[in-house]
Every structure is written in C-alpha cells, then in structure tokens.
Symmetry: C2
Subunit: 134 residues, 2 copies
C-alpha cells in the first residue's frame, strides 16, 4: 500500500495554492514556492499537483496548448468556472446559483471523482465592440 510522505516541498505547494484565488498555473506556483525553497524543481511541483488532483483536493481547468490552471477547493465554496477564450481569464461562478442535477444517466459502474461545469466564451474585454471601429 502506497505511503504518502509529508515534505517541505509539498507543504509549500499546498500553502501557495491555498493562498491564491487566481487559478494559477504550475509555472507560477513554482515561482512562488521558490521564494521560500529556492531549489524546488518544476518536476516536483507537477508531481505534487498530480497527487493533489488525485486526492480531490485540487481541481484543474485544462485547455489544449495552454498551461493547466489549478484551483484549491476551499471549504464550502463550491463554484464552477467561466473561461474566456480570448485572454484566458478564469472567473468563478457560484455553484448555488447554478444548480446542476445529476440524475442516473452515467455509464453503469463509472466512479465520478469530480464534476466540472465550465462556461466557455468571451469576457467583456475580449468581446468585439458592436459600435466601435471596424
């Protein structure tokens, strides 16, 4: 049975993740962690993040060709995401105001570990102005 060890590196990654609400990517997290532990490698950050995702502690927002963004699941703060295809900005969307009723329609025997509801689109800054220059 796999034994998970507590290390300085992992604590640092978790702390950085909990402290930020900007859905950071691995490189940014790496930079922050290095502020305290200068020799931590990107590889370790990725390995730690993978473990956190597997444990369900952290959610991901994945986009092809772009860095995965990580989202720490704060207690009792369920939310979904609105992702701008233009600038990549990610907005939180309150889950309570966006109810989703999973009924029995999943493949038999499928074990759900995470439900993702993502709204893809364009944020105000990236929406073409209807009334401006061409």
């Amino acid at each position: 049975m796999t034994m998970v060890r507590q290390t300085r590196q992992r604590q640092a990654v978790i702390e950085v993740l909990r402290a930020s609400r900007e859905h950071p990517d691995a490189a940014w997290i790496h930079g922050q962690v290095r502020g305290r532990l200068p020799h931590v490698s990107l590889g370790t950050v990725y390995r730690t993040l993978d473990a956190l995702v597997r444990d369900g502690v952290v959610l991901t927002i994945e986009r092809a060709g772009q860095a995965t963004r990580y989202d720490y699941r704060h207690e009792g703060e369920d939310h979904h995401h609105a992702v701008c295809r233009g600038c990549g900005a990610i907005f939180d969307v309150d889950a309570e105001a966006m109810p989703c009723i999973p009924v029995a329609a999943l493949p038999p025997g499928f074990q759900v570990t995470e439900v993702r509801l993502e709204f893809m689109g364009l944020c105000p800054d990236c929406t073409p102005q209807p009334n401006a220059e061409s």
Copy 2:
C-alpha cells in the same frame, strides 16, 4: 470581413467528424482524411478544427498532456461527457437526464459560446477491484 472558403480539405475533415462517434483526436482524423486526400497535412487539420470550434459546430474535450478530442454536435443530440482518468475513454451522457439550470450568476457581460459539463472519474475497467488480488 473575413471570407471563409470551401475547400476539399475542410469538407473531408467535417465528413470524417460527422461520421464518427468516438470522439476522435486530431491525429486520428488526419489519418482518416488522408485515406481520401493523401497529402493533407496535420497542420491543416488543426486549422480546420479550430475554425469549427470557433463556429460552435464542434465541441472539444481537453486534457493536459493529452490530445484534444473532438465531438461533432449532431442535431438535437445534446450530451455531456464522462471521462475516465485511467484509460481516457469518453462516454456520452444524455443531457436531458442531466439537467443543468444556468441562472444569472455569470460575470456581467460574459458571452457564453459553449457550456461544458464533464464527469471525471474511473470507468468500470479502471476501477480497482475491491475483492480481487492486492
């Protein structure tokens, strides 16, 4: 104003996409298209797929470090996806049995072009057997 041209390559990509219900990735589509048009390049397939996604004709299922899967939106067949983290299999989930009620909670001015509901988890084949060998 941008003018979109009809080309043999684009028609082929669309046809392949419409004919398959297996959520193929770009490489697979490329292989199929080459069956008819041997010189079509992967780059062209990607460019065409990008255009189709922008037009809302095709949906994507994106996973970090793995090929994006493309899903042609067949008429009146709204569905969500269940994605296995083990083998990468993608199952369709009927949208009607999985209602999702978007209320006004999105960022003001955010233009939604696509709503994604994804169930991440493990399919029966990838679920650790509770009663088998260690």
